[in-house]
Amino acid sequence: MLKLEKRPAPSRMWMALAPLLAVALTMITAGILFSFLGTNPFVAIRTIFWDPLFGEFAFYYRGQLLIKAGPLILIAIGLALGFRAGIWNIGAEGQYIVGAICGAAVGLAFYPSESVLIFPMMVLFGALGGWIWAMIPAILKTRFGTNEILVSLMLVYVAEAMLASASSGWLRNPDGQGFPGSRNFRDYAAGYNNFLVESAGIHWGVVAAFIAVIFAYILLTRHLLGFQIRLTGESPRAAKFGGVNPSILIVVCLGVSGALAGLAGLFEVSGPAGQISIDFNSGYGFTAIIVAFLGRLHPIGILMAGLLMALTYIGGEAAQGTLGLPAAAIQLLQGMLLFFLLAVDVFTNFRIRLGRMETA
């Protein structure tokens, strides 16, 4: 008989090992799944995880890696701060969209200005848009005790409706022959988030993501606010005794995660996506939740997890193209990654015993 037994203290070895094991289990299970779909599992796994980095076309894919990872990391860092404190912002996708709309709208309002202030202003309003969208669940929670999970999630659908109306209505390109979608920022130099190093895929959003990682790391390990965040997550009552004001913490955590998600949206819409269109958002806000947990809510872990998740996006697309795997199979793979992580996580706090316990 198998029996789960609580460990006296969480195992450090398992904490480090769990993500690696989860990746391995995902590869194995996904391989089995792919073989049912009639694809050679070894080729499929190699196409997804190996070729983008070291294959024939790696020079192209490697640049893509940071383009995809940048927004994921930027959003996940913000989410992780809240998650650490037990504040569950599930609506980063909505904050991402609203940030993109706000920033893009401000930029497009000045079209065709050539001022160097346009792009910084767009960045500012992008962050502001995400922040405002996150303030709605924050204020409702602190004022009326509503559940931030539900409110932030529901606001994603409101944001999607706003996106639809913006791209086909008030932000539609006046010179676009009636097609939905805003002006393309590629044709608007003052508002374009151009590559800083094109071959590596580095644009301002990627820079922002790296800064966020460093900033979050210092905040969590060296600053009183980071200590209060961790304390609140560990033990809300002890935090209150220690002088933490829970309402302020909710507002700060949701605000920061909203602003970072808004930034990610702005960098995406003004750079790789190029324009506000009804589907420019590719679910980064939701995938970032996986990234945050895969990275153990730790800034360095999130950096790695963001890169890994970006790899599955790129490899997945490649596998769709070359092997004909369905898109759903890739989403399944990403879901499995989180599933296995959570499953393996049990061993951090528990160990398995066989049969009845021996007498001491």
Binding site: R222, F227, E234, A238, F241, T359
Partner: protein
């Protein structure tokens, strides 16, 4: 107490181990019909595990039990109950929104009609001197009356053996006397009673035999009436007890003053404070007694700043602080140590360094411009560990890895070392072994001698008598007039705690 030759329950070499700890190691003893048998031991001595095995909640790893000479291996509490074992737990399992009879019926496999059951309850409760109205809502009952519901629930099963786990921790001295009358009557009728406690005087007055447990082993048996409380304590602890001492010192000006403070409890099941007034002078220890749940947590929160009050309802050195939060009060020198160590006074999974930072950041200067001074925090944690003899491999260990007594020493030490102007502690020695408790009391006495005003909230009356200059009791959110501890009689204390809470007392016929 007539037939002592027959054995009702005998326990043979019972052993039970949990990961990392042996709860019971070859425990052997026996109980005869009508005997009141005490299981005496400190927290963690293995008393609860032992009775859980008898009650079928836990299976022993090895060893045997016999019941009236036949092998006894209850797999479930139901099996134990049908054999005739009944148990009153320390924590009640009653529904507030149901009345007494309904609560009793819920525990029965096949309850009779409500009217019959009510009649039975009335009959049993009067026979045993525990008057109880079957139609009253449990939510309206005092802790003592709730315990009566649990006892009557047991008595309806006509038990041969009644197990009582720390029954007096929720009772005033008067209520304890009523309970003891009932237990003595049960014993005369032949019901054996297994009485778990660490209160020595109670055991001396009630019990015929005692089995003393320490760290899972039986370390002795005795007839408690023939031993002094001190001898029993030393058997229980295994070492000579150090009695805290204090030097008489001059009392200074009033430091903490509460003026007619009323606070509504934020917890729907909490107790609101009603018109609490008190004054503690520099160098003075005010002991606040009372049965748990009479406003202790709320009083601590009002002092710590976790709940805000009217500005001038709380004064520290004549400065109104009622509206200030915990950290602002710390800055002014009012420090607190709550009752619950894990999850309130300390964050369980965080290290001792981080927990030192939890309350020490302001007075010990552990931050600079919002950035943490980790090495200073570590020094502070190490200072607490060495000054207060906290047993741990290092300050980097998580708070939850410490034993209760060691963590309590850490929590008290953390506040004491910050040289408080005033210190409020709630249950400073709850669940702490006797030597650690003595050390904590000594540190409070020393702190008072150095001029700190101390408020000590506790349910342990002996502790309060030992260390406090003045005594007051909380009863349903009201604080009695504080009186000098010296010369205070136990029945006076009982009355301050609310007497028998207006419970009717029926006379037990002899």
């Amino acid at each position: 107490m007539t037939e002592k030759t027959k054995t009702l329950l005998s326990i043979n070499e019972l052993t039970k181990a949990y990961p990392g700890v042996v709860a019971n190691q070859s425990v052997t003893f026996s109980v005869s019909p009508g005997e009141v048998h005490a299981l005496l031991g400190e927290n963690g001595a293995g008393k609860s595990t032992l009775v859980k095995m008898i009650y079928g909640l836990v299976r022993p790893d090895s060893g045997t039990m016999t019941w009236n000479g036949a092998p006894f291996e209850p797999a479930t509490p139901n099996a134990a109950r049908s054999a005739g074992v009944a148990m009153v737990f320390q924590h009640f399992s009653l529904f507030d929104a149901l009345n007494v009879a309904e609560n009793v019926a819920l525990g029965m496999g096949n309850p009779p009609k409500m009217r019959q059951l009510s009649a039975r309850i009335r009959e049993v409760s009067e026979t045993y001197g525990l008057p109880l109205d079957p139609d009253r809502l449990v939510g309206d009952l005092s802790a003592g009356e709730r315990q009566r519901v649990e006892i009557i629930r047991c008595l309806l099963q006509d038990p041969k053996l009644l197990i009582m786990d720390e029954p007096t921790s929720v009772l005033t001295p008067q209520e304890v006397e009523i309970l003891f009358e009932t237990l003595r009557k049960l014993s005369r009728e032949g019901t054996a009673i297994l009485y778990i406690s660490h209160k020595l005087e109670e055991i001396r007055s009630l019990c015929d035999e005692a089995t003393i447990l320490r760290l899972g082993h039986v370390v002795g048996t005795c007839k408690p009436a023939e031993k002094s409380a001190r001898e029993l304590a030393e058997m229980m602890v295994g070492q000579t007890l150090h009695v805290p001492t204090r030097e008489k010192s001059e009392l200074g000006e009033p430091v903490v003053v509460m003026d007619n403070l009323s606070v509504k409890s934020t917890n729907p099941f909490g107790t609101s404070l009603k018109g609490v007034s008190l004054s503690v002078r520099a160098g003075e220890i005010l002991g606040i007694g009372g049965v748990a749940g009479n406003g202790q947590d709320e009083l601590l929160a009002a002092l710590s700043g976790e709940s805000r009050t009217a500005k001038s309802a709380v004064l520290l050195n004549d400065q109104p602080i009622g509206q200030l939060g915990p950290n602002e009060r710390r800055r002014l020198g009012l420090l607190t140590a709550p009752e619950e160590r894990l999850g309130h006074a300390a964050a369980p999974a965080m290290s001792l360094i981080e927990n030192a930072l939890l309350t020490g950041s302001i007075r010990e200067n552990l931050t600079r411009n919002g950035f943490l001074k980790w090495s200073a925090a570590e020094d502070f944690a190490n200072r607490i560990i060495s000054d207060f003899d906290v047993r741990t491999p290092g300050a980097g260990n998580a708070a939850q890895s410490l034993s209760g007594g060691n963590l309590q020493k850490f929590v008290i030490g953390r506040e004491v070392l910050q040289r408080p102007v005033a210190l409020v502690v709630n249950q400073p020695t709850w669940g702490v072994d006797a030597s650690a408790a003595a050390a904590i009391r000594q540190s409070l006495l020393d702190l008072a001698a150095s001029g700190t005003a101390i408020i000590c909230i506790s349910q342990d009356l002996d502790e309060l008598m030992e260390i406090s200059d003045k005594f007051a009791a909380l009863n349903e959110g009201r604080l009695s007039e504080p009186r000098a501890t010296e010369g205070l009689q136990i029945d006076e204390i009982g009355l301050m705690m609310g007497g028998a809470h207006g419970m009717e007392v029926a006379h037990v016929e002899a």
